[in-house]
Symmetry: C2
Subunit: 602 residues, 2 copies
Amino acid sequence: MRTSTPMRTSIATVSLSGSLTEKLTAASRAGFDGVEIFENDLLASPLTPEEIRARCADLGLSIDLYQPMRDIEAVPEDEFKRNLRRARHKFELMRRLGADTVLVCSSVHPLAEDNDALAAHHLRQLAALAQDFGIRVAYEALAWGRHVSTYDHAWRIVEAADHPALGTCLDSFHILARGSDPKGIEDIPGEKIFFLQLADAPLMAMDVLQWSRHYRCFPGQGGFDVAGLVKHVFAAGYDGPLSLEVFNDVFRQAEAGPTAVDAHRSLLVLQESAGLAALPEPVVPTGVAFAELVTPDADPVGALLRALGFARTARHRSKPVDLWQQGEARVLVNTGPAARRDGTQLAAIGLESPDPAGAARRAESLLAPVLPRRRAPEDVALEAVAAPDGTELFFCATDRPELTSWTHDFEPLDHREPARHVHRVDHLALTQPWHQFDEAALFHRTVLGLSTCDSVDVADPYGLFRSRPVTNADGSVRIALSVGPAPTDDTVRAQHIAFTTDDVVAAARAFRAAGGRLLAVPTNYYDDLAARFEFADGELETYRELGILYDRDADGDFRHCYTETVGRVFFELVQRDGGYSGYGAQNAPVRLAAQHVGRPPR
Amino acid sequence: MRTSTPMRTSIATVSLSGSLTEKLTAASRAGFDGVEIFENDLLASPLTPEEIRARCADLGLSIDLYQPMRDIEAVPEDEFKRNLRRARHKFELMRRLGADTVLVCSSVHPLAEDNDALAAHHLRQLAALAQDFGIRVAYEALAWGRHVSTYDHAWRIVEAADHPALGTCLDSFHILARGSDPKGIEDIPGEKIFFLQLADAPLMAMDVLQWSRHYRCFPGQGGFDVAGLVKHVFAAGYDGPLSLEVFNDVFRQAEAGPTAVDAHRSLLVLQESAGLAALPEPVVPTGVAFAELVTPDADPVGALLRALGFARTARHRSKPVDLWQQGEARVLVNTGPAARRDGTQLAAIGLESPDPAGAARRAESLLAPVLPRRRAPEDVALEAVAAPDGTELFFCATDRPELTSWTHDFEPLDHREPARHVHRVDHLALTQPWHQFDEAALFHRTVLGLSTCDSVDVADPYGLFRSRPVTNADGSVRIALSVGPAPTDDTVRAQHIAFTTDDVVAAARAFRAAGGRLLAVPTNYYDDLAARFEFADGELETYRELGILYDRDADGDFRHCYTETVGRVFFELVQRDGGYSGYGAQNAPVRLAAQHVGRPPR
């Protein structure tokens, strides 16, 4: 098994949005070595096969597969004759295109016979024709093939046909969706595995054809053990490319460029997981050093932070950035140029990293966009990359002797002491662009080494959100990624910062006393709490008075409340007791509805 | 079985988008008699139970059900004690709300026992408590209930519990999704059926909980025989409301008002189908009398029509509307005020109706918005309603002696003769607003009496469209409803008018000779046709030269080509031979891609 030279990577054009030209450009820019040309993309393209060949060559892409050819084998003889005629046309096309392998899917033709000998006989004839054109035929079992639906069945037919230009194509979706054991792949001679197509998918109990056509995703985004399968394929001696073939309703709409990068990232991680390539080790962040807000007007955010007990403790030496601090919770308020464009939003997160340079190497190896360092010569050199939603992630150290602290760029201010209501950032909640939710989860898991939790549905009055937290092991870094019901303007993608407190009641009272306004929670919610839980005397009345929400699970209790919103941003105070590790998802519909009160729907 | 007085109708608030107030208002305006209050909607509302009660009273809505209460029965004793405590709170709430029936779903609690006697014992205790509050408990089998998942099982437990305040709730989704035979409902005494919840769903092989939570739809929009089930329920003697409970990801985002109207329409049709109420008979249209375009500038559309062989044959007596005609194909070009607002679009369809007044009565009885008649005193009185996408539908007659012809409003122009390339409208293709696709299909089927065909996926380069044609029996009225991959601005929802020709080659040549430009189709498409079909000498070259697309099925052949687009509108020439009844869906991706060439993606 290889461990050093990276595998060749390829992607089927159907996996990306746009015209064929846009797809090819995106695949090349993202670093793929080759492509599978999906027939419909070619048909719809104004480029001739020769022009496509030249375009691919210019872009440094090989054409690894032409696909698909359907309903070829085990059909009545006159039908098969027509199929050979059709195949000859396609082989001529492939010669013009410079593609030397064609995918043949197991037949779904209503007249196809359940007759392996006939199937082998037909495929052998097809292969003989292909050989005349210097073409190889890769026969694949569709999970919903009429008579051939498993990879070992397809291989038996290929073996029986026994032609040098005929081999098999393995597709992780078709194999894993059927629940087949991929171990048997090792019984296939490597040189007879002509191609390997990879796709993951969320585990869903649904019709396999619909599942395949609409919900495939990149390896690592779903629930299949794609890496395990890949190991078996390479153990068998396969030496072709790792190629992605993903049919996904969302990717079809998303910009091809970012999707291609995400796709390529998934293959890099897959190679790492399968032990086929080594990447710089993940460096898991150990805390949130800071959250940075950009705002055109520092006053409303400053007023909220002050009421929460923060003090403005320092100012950046060379930029219009203030540091607000309370305990280990740090918020940067940046009134630089970006703010004037985008309004108040969370623009960056400082992640406490045991090895900032190593974290950046990991990120860079996984195609995270490395951010240019806009800094004055005397500023600390900070390593930063962009997350899929554009949030800047800084890998940094705060007051650790062995590393330069990012705080050196800040000049302490003469200030009053912060309060001690909150002590650190509990979590950051970021609504993701609609087309990038799966990508965001893969990014945070693989680039940052965080763990992804299960996705949960959350009902907003105007549509269903999904939320998927990513965390490190001790919960000192938690990011709740969520996505709204439909693509929307960036300016309404809400973001919030939750601060940890030991006493949410005291913190809420102090906030109010300092002039802060907490989100009003309906009385009905408290009547429901009374029905569901028993509280100490007066406890519920306090929550009701302040707008504190409550949840309890087998591990512990969760109390939380919300400030008003500035721009896209609001704050949350959270008190975790016992081992409660959730985010109060049960309460989210009430919170979302309360935030709509007095605001028009999106 | 009742056949004259309509049933009472109700809708669960969870079926509609928005705040509780918005939901109640929409339900009332759409004509519902009552609502089910979904607990989460109450919890999230700033209104007190008393205020909700008053609001419902003001709106003329009864509160027919409070729901849901979960995981009550067959649980360990200490858990059940907590459940009774919770129930007492909820019964107090219901008293304030004025709701007298509560829904209890069969338990999914991990500790619930498979013990019908215990379940009955617990439900009896719950019912006894409920009775003290004047409340009835309706016990329902969830399709995914831990031990109780079928309606007959739930009924056996209710029967065993034998308490006057305990009955069963039937839910068409839970019954039909499980594949249960609804005939057994007739064995349940009608007075013990406390409630009936109705939902349909598309037939999908998927996890039943996910299916239920995301894909339910209104009766008639899916694949279940909801009317058949309803007949059994009324045969059993049920006399409560017909109530809709629909969890649907799209309806959650759609405006509550139109969704509520669509919902109520579905119940009216359901009553008709189940023989519970009589509506005016459907009057199926027998042809397309005209298609009306509004445009701020009549020249580009006029130039296209002229090149297609149409002649401007008449002008409206009182409005800036020209009639363009060729054979039985008639296009009105309206440069009135609407055009200046919305650009060039298809605004109205004239449907040839055997009984325009009857068609309008049918439409009105099914809540179709009747359009005000903006006409001069001497104009023909035309009956018109609005389709869900806003298209105006006129029920009219063209030159039939027994009825006044709409053409009487037009003054013939001194003109040259139209050509004879096309003779009638083959079909109209209308992209629907994203949130109204299911509604549009139900509307066209029930209001107009058209048949809905299966929905097909069509790949645009930038996302997947779905298309669902509706037709009358002889195909003289065909409307292809489609929907794009995501909600979008109305101005990009494409529309087209297809004209029937006996000789698409001649028609296309004439169009070109008259200066018209046909959509350019990639050469690769024709290479594929050559691979798939055998053509007469020169035939394919002609298609390639003109941009004619081709399809063949078991019934016949289809040849078609497209003009350029003006505003949202383009035209198609279609030649059907043999019994081909489709729309060339196979060619749609090529056409869509060609239409994007030179245009930026949406």
